[in-house]
Each structure stands twice: as structure tokens, then as C-alpha cells.
């Protein structure tokens, strides 16, 4: 029982990582209808930026918010400079753009900051939460921030004009343009927000997995899985999907004899694909309706 509880809590802590990444993945999906392979590398770059600022003597929160703001600007810039020109190209051309961006950022991180793992400070501390060994304050903080971000996004998209405009631009660009929404800028804004959320994710993940250029490779993989499991059209679903992936993975490794430990990733993926068989748009997503 103790083991089960511990594995679930450890899965939840990992799941918080996946959930944060999944949230950023869904943000960009809403804006551009595509998965951004470079999402993880953008987050890593943002974290390195913050690390550098802290190394130069900035206090944690100053570095944190500077990195978030810079990431937002960089996200907007990337959309304007790199992906806007590909807007009319076949839809898969931008995929090569993502892969190129991934390659550039990954290699650039290693060149600028080398590959030795670095510690990244946490604002929450790493004491056991309420004196229990099950979860520490940083992991709890990570879960808290995920939920907070989710709530803020909900309010933004439901209650603000800008949020509504963004939804309209994504849902029906042509009609949105007719009512005076600047669809191009809404897409850029989506990129900026995704980059900013990615930055937050990166900076919260770094204290756990340590900062290095390939830090987000695994997290992104699981984050995608979480987002798809929960449903790409539903931020809340993506977050739950992320947590679920973390827990499934740990339970598979612990309780499936013979194959569990070596094939836990494979098993987690099989579970997800099986879920997709039943719910092809993810657990909480809605299937797209096609007009003939």
C-alpha cells in the first residue's frame, strides 16, 4: 500500500512536468493547428536565459519574469519572421520549420552553455511537504502553478475580448477577419503565449531534471502523449492527460511483471493508443466535424 501510494505520488510529480509541457503544446495547437516539435527546445532556451541572468546576479523572480517576457517576445518574433512566410506553403512545410528550429536551438544551447548539467534554483524549496516523504514542496509548487496557469487561461479565453478574438481567429479565420479581427496577429500572440508558458514549464522542470540542452527531450515526448491523451482541443484535458501518463508509466513499471520495468514507455504508449481507439480525439477533446 505504501509502495502504491509512493509510486502514484512520484507519478504525479513527473506528471506535473508532462502536464506543463502538454499545456504549452495545446496552446500552440490552438493557434496554429499543429504540434510544435521545437516547443521543448524553446523552453530549454528560456531556462538557460533565466539561469544566465541569475548567474549574473539577478534575483530569482526578476530573472523568472524577464525570461518569461523575453520568451513571449521571441515567440511572437519567431512566428513573424519564420512561420508567417510559410503560411501559404503546404501544411507540412512548417513541420520542417519546427524540426529546423529544434536543431538550431539544441545545438546553440550546447554551444553557448555547454553540456554539463546545471542546478536551477526553485522558489518553493525542496523540503518534504507537511513532513511527508511522499512529495516535496517543489513538486507541490509545480502542481499548484499548473493549476493556476490553467485557471488563468480559462479566464483569459472566456472573459476577455482578446481571448475571445483569439478563439475566433483560430476557429474560423475567414469570418474572424470579416468582423475585424487581425488574424495574423492573433496567431503571433498564440505563439508568444505558448513560448511564455513553455518558459514557465522549463524553469519549473529544471530544478528536478537539471538544466542541460537535452533536458526537455523526454518531457516533450511525454508531454505530447499527455496532450493527445487528454485531447488537443482541451487545455484541461491535456493537463489531466499529462498527470495520467506520469501515473500509468510508474504503475506499469511497478506492477507488470517481467516486461514492466524495461518496457514501461512502450506500455504507456500502448495504453494511450488504446484509449485513442475508443476516443479518437482524446479523452476530453471534441472530434472535428467535417463539412462536405
Amino acid at each position: 500500500m505504501q509502495l502504491l501510494l509512493q509510486q502514484i505520488m512520484a507519478g504525479l510529480a513527473n506528471g506535473a512536468i508532462y502536464a506543463l509541457v502538454a499545456l504549452a503544446v495545446v496552446m500552440i495547437y490552438q493557434a496554429i493547428d499543429h504540434l510544435n516539435f521545437a516547443q521543448g527546445e524553446m523552453a530549454t532556451f528560456s531556462s538557460f536565459l533565466a539561469w544566465q541572468l541569475i548567474a549574473w546576479g539577478l534575483p530569482y523572480w526578476a530573472a523568472f519574469f524577464t525570461a518569461v517576457i523575453l520568451s513571449f517576445a521571441a515567440g511572437v518574433a519567431i512566428e513573424r519572421v519564420l512561420f508567417r512566410p510559410l503560411h501559404h506553403a503546404p501544411i507540412l512545410a512548417s513541420l520542417v520549420g519546427f524540426i529546423a528550429l529544434f536543431s538550431i536551438l539544441n545545438s546553440g544551447d550546447g554551444y553557448l552553455w555547454n553540456y554539463t548539467i546545471k542546478t536551477f534554483p526553485t522558489p518553493f524549496g525542496t523540503r518534504p511537504l507537511f513532513g511527508s516523504a511522499l512529495i516535496d514542496t517543489h513538486e507541490a509548487g509545480m502542481i499548484g502553478v499548473t493549476v493556476l496557469l490553467l485557471a488563468l487561461l480559462y479566464l483569459f479565453f472566456r472573459r476577455t475580448r482578446l481571448g475571445l478574438a483569439m478563439r475566433a481567429a483560430a476557429a474560423n479565420p475567414d469570418s474572424a477577419r470579416l468582423v475585424g479581427i487581425r488574424v495574423g496577429w492573433m496567431t503571433a500572440l498564440g505563439w508568444g503565449m505558448a513560448a511564455a508558458i513553455g518558459a514557465v514549464a522549463g524553469m519549473l522542470i529544471a530544478p528536478v531534471v537539471f538544466l542541460e540542452p537535452n533536458m526537455m527531450l523526454g518531457a516533450l515526448l511525454y508531454g505530447f502523449a499527455g496532450a493527445v491523451l487528454g485531447g488537443l482541443s482541451s487545455p484541461g484535458g491535456a493537463v489531466l492527460g499529462g498527470f495520467a501518463v506520469g501515473i500509468i508509466e510508474n504503475l506499469a513499471a511497478t506492477y507488470i511483471p517481467y516486461v514492466g520495468r524495461d518496457l514501461k514507455l512502450t506500455i504507456a504508449l500502448i495504453v494511450i493508443v488504446a484509449v485513442l481507439m475508443v476516443r479518437p480525439a482524446g479523452l476530453f477533446g471534441r472530434s472535428a466535424v467535417s463539412r462536405v
Binding site: V228, L232, D262, L265
Partner: protein, 344 residues
């Protein structure tokens, strides 16, 4: 946030046929010329360049497999490296464990991959777009783990992989092993490309493309979409699997680390840069994924990855619909300007 009703977006521009009547005839000559050059090449270069060119053809064939699925049928796969790896392992195991001759391993590798591809295509029917991408991606991520799995180590050699013997050329031919493998690969590639060209032009091919361009309309016209889609998945896996089999023979070694998900991504890069829905574009894609990383490294070692990325971006900016689309565009421009010239 809500989901938008989506228009079915074709992944690739439907291939425009017709155009100036002179081009099909010219295309014929271009093809004959290309084959003639391909036949001479192993005597112009030797040793390692011949080996590289063999790899280009092999990657081109693997990309062709992906193209049949993604470019012609509109099903998105991020996992074709898995079929490539599967084909490679079938060949390696048959050759080294059971002493089967290398040429007999190709149909076996193709058959196994067809079966796996077909079976995987059944559940894939329910998935679309990015959800399908994730399912196939899962295949690519899981394959190295399965190859390393201790329960299968007896066959796969586990993390140590399997060394494959290089086939000797037939004794009556005055060529070395590299040249022989080149011609052998060339023959296989030509046969399979011809097969793909016929398939695409046939009634079946039109059905496959109709499903890509408008799935609902295709079904309404009486096309058995599920059957065609799963069959395409199988054929696509067969092509990529045979490429993997050839790859194992050429490289003379298979190991789980040779078939990680980055391989699937580089096939995808080759496909898009070569041109979706174009057969010769696949070979261009093969050239790109083999040579451009080498070029990037020679530009800057510390930033090899970054240079590769920049080259990819430049290419996609200049040729957003791949080399094939670019060539079509250039040809169209040329013929238009020629048509404008006053008749002599």
C-alpha cells in the same frame, strides 16, 4: 476553447497533370538519361562514394514508402523508421542466424513489414491527423526498446546488435562488392519505383489519392476507404521495410540505436524537402538527408546541428513545396515564357 469545423485540407497539392504536351516526352528522355548515368556512376567513383550513393538510393526508397502513405494517401506517419528497422532486423536475423541468402531476405522483410503495416493500419483507421502521428510516433519510440528487450535478445542480439556479412559479387562479374551492392540496390529500387509509378497511375492509385483529397466524397463515390487505407499502410511499410533490409546489407550492422525516432524524423524531412506526392522527389530527399548533415558539419563542428537547421529553413523558404514542386514551378515558368515567344 472550441474545435473548429475543419475543411479537409489536402496535405499536398494535387498533382497537376497535362501542361505543355512536350514535357511528358521529355520526361521520358530525362528518365532514360538518369538511368544511364546511374549505371555509369560506380565506374566514375569508387569505394566509399559508391557506398554513399547506395545509401542515397536506400533512403530514397524508404522515403518513397512514406510518400505512398503520406503524400498519396494523406495518412501522416512519424514512425516509418520503425518499419525500416524491422526490415533491417528481419534481414540480419535471416542472414546471420539462419544463413539465408541476402536476396531472399528482401521479400521476407517486405512481407513481414507489409503484415505489420497492414495490422497497424487497422486501428489507425480510427485516428486522424496528429492523433495518427502520435500513434505512429509511439511505434518509432517503442522499437529500440523492443529490440533491446531481454526476452528477445536471443534473436536480436540485444544492445550489441548483429554484424551482417557483405555479399560477394557473382564471380563472373569483374566488379567489387561495393559496386555489386550498388547495382543490386539500383535494380531493386528501379523495380519498386516502377511498381509505385504504376500503382499511382492505376485505378487503385486514383482511389488512394481520392481518399487523400476528400475522404468523405471518396466514400460517397463507393470507394472502400478502410480497405484502401489499410492496404496503403501495408504497401508503404513494405517499401520502407525493403529499404531497411537493403540498409542492413549495405551498412553490415544493425543495432537498436540505428533506428531511433530521429530516423523517422529524417525520413519526414526528406519527404517534405523532396516533395510530397512526387516519385523522383524521394531520391532528392535521400540525397538531402545523407549529404546535408555532412555539409553542415564541414561548415561548423561546434554548431553542426544549428547549421543543418539553417540549411533546412533556407531550402523550405526557397522551395516550400519541396524540390518536386519547385521543379514543376520552374518548368511551368519556362514553358510559359517559351509560349510567349513569337512563332518564328
Amino acid at each position: 476553447m472550441t474545435t473548429q469545423p475543419q475543411e479537409a485540407v489536402p496535405l499536398a497539392p494535387a498533382q497537376t497533370r497535362g501542361g505543355p504536351a512536350a514535357w511528358p516526352a521529355l520526361r521520358h528522355w530525362v528518365m532514360i538519361g538518369a538511368i544511364a548515368i546511374a549505371l555509369v556512376l560506380p565506374f566514375v567513383f569508387h569505394g566509399f562514394v559508391v557506398f554513399q550513393l547506395t545509401l542515397v538510393m536506400i533512403y530514397g526508397l524508404a522515403i518513397l514508402g512514406l510518400n505512398l502513405l503520406t503524400g498519396f494517401n494523406g495518412q501522416f506517419s512519424l514512425g516509418h523508421g520503425a518499419f525500416y528497422g524491422l526490415g533491417a532486423y528481419v534481414t540480419a536475423i535471416l542472414m546471420q542466424r539462419w544463413g539465408v541468402a541476402y536476396y531472399w531476405t528482401l521479400p521476407a522483410a517486405g512481407g513481414v513489414c507489409f503484415l505489420v503495416g497492414f495490422l497497424f493500419g487497422l486501428p489507425a483507421l480510427r485516428l486522424q491527423g496528429l492523433y495518427l502521428a502520435l500513434a505512429t510516433f509511439a511505434l518509432a519510440v517503442a522499437l529500440p526498446q523492443l529490440l533491446k528487450f531481454h526476452g528477445l535478445e536471443h534473436w536480436t542480439g540485444g544492445v550489441q546488435g548483429i554484424v551482417v556479412d557483405q555479399p560477394d559479387p557473382p564471380s563472373f562479374l569483374p566488379i567489387d562488392a561495393d559496386q555489386w551492392l550498388y547495382y543490386f540496390t539500383l535494380a531493386v529500387v528501379l523495380i519498386l519505383f516502377a511498381g509505385a509509378a504504376n500503382l499511382v497511375r492505376s485505378r487503385t492509385g486514383r482511389a488512394i489519392m481520392a481518399i487523400r483529397d476528400h475522404p468523405i466524397a471518396a466514400s460517397a463515390m463507393g470507394i472502400n476507404a478502410p480497405l484502401y487505407k489499410t492496404l496503403t499502410f501495408g504497401v508503404s511499410a513494405l517499401y520502407t521495410g525493403i529499404a531497411g533490409a537493403l540498409g542492413a546489407i549495405a551498412v553490415q550492422f544493425v543495432a537498436p540505436d540505428s533506428f531511433n525516432f530521429l530516423l523517422s524524423i529524417s525520413f519526414l524531412v526528406g519527404l517534405i524537402i523532396g516533395g510530397m506526392g512526387s516519385l523522383p522527389g524521394c531520391l532528392f530527399g535521400g540525397l538531402f538527408v545523407l549529404y546535408v548533415p555532412n555539409i553542415a558539419e564541414s561548415v561548423s563542428r561546434g554548431l553542426a546541428g544549428a547549421v543543418y537547421g539553417v540549411i533546412m529553413l533556407l531550402v523550405i523558404f526557397v522551395m516550400p513545396s519541396g524540390a518536386a514542386g519547385f521543379t514543376r514551378l520552374v518548368i511551368a515558368r519556362l514553358s510559359r515564357s517559351r509560349n510567349r515567344q513569337p512563332p518564328a
